[in-house]
């Protein structure tokens, strides 16, 4: 059921986001540079695993969340809506993994 998937992915994301926010706030101090960031992340297998999980959870959570908005605020009913969401999920998954590879591989 979508609800179970949504709440399960939410629980996973709660943890991922907490870690991500802490990391971002820490990293942003003293300015950012690509070299600095990539020096820490490249070749980091644990980081890759973590962010891959993050991407997976987002790919589940975001489309299901948007689904309610599309139904309730745009009145979008029928299969075209679900098709749109599937495409959106696929796009998130592809772009997300591309980003994870780009930063961690």
């Amino acid at each position: 059921m979508l609800w179970i998937a949504q709440r399960a992915s939410a629980a996973v994301l709660a943890l991922c986001v907490a870690v991500h926010l802490a990391t971002v706030i820490y990293a942003v101090q003293g300015g950012l540079s690509a070299a600095e960031i990539l020096a820490r992340t490249r070749g980091n297998a644990a980081g890759f695993a973590f962010y891959s999980l993050f991407v997976l959870a987002v790919t589940v959570h975001a489309p299901i969340g948007l689904r309610s908005v599309l139904i309730e605020w745009l009145g979008w009913r029928g299969r075209s809506r679900d098709l749109f969401l599937l495409i959106f999920a696929a796009a998130l998954a592809w772009m997300g993994m591309r980003a994870a590879v780009g930063v961690f591989a």
Binding site: A14, V24, V28, L32, A34, V69, M95, A99
Partner: protein, 104 residues
């Protein structure tokens, strides 16, 4: 019609969710272009962009706060104090926003 706090927490939760869903593809795209990251990072030094970044992080914190509230309402045994969760969610979001503002 007068709206109580739970309604606003939900509205923030929904709007921040929409904002995040719109932002994420862009975020992933930029990170995927890791080799060109420096030139992009130079662009992000502009104050408007910094404000946007801060707003997105605030949206993430707000969405997390609202989401934790929903999980608490749906999974924990029902108690009266749960009505106050709206305030807790807002507090969490503000705390994170402040932390980031200080760091930026």
């Amino acid at each position: 019609m007068k709206k109580e706090s739970s309604y606003w927490v939900f509205m923030v939760h929904r709007v921040s969710g929409i904002a995040l869903a719109a932002f994420l593809p862009l975020h992933f795209w930029v990170l995927g272009n890791a080799l060109q990251l420096d030139s992009f990072l130079a662009w992000t030094e502009q104050p408007l962009v910094k404000l946007g970044e801060w707003a997105i992080v605030l949206a993430l914190a707000a969405h997390l706060g609202g989401g934790l509230r929903v999980l608490a309402l749906e999974f924990l045994p029902w108690r009266d104090w749960q009505k106050g969760l709206a305030a807790a969610a807002a507090a969490l979001a503000l705390a994170v926003g402040l932390a980031l503002a200080l760091a930026l």
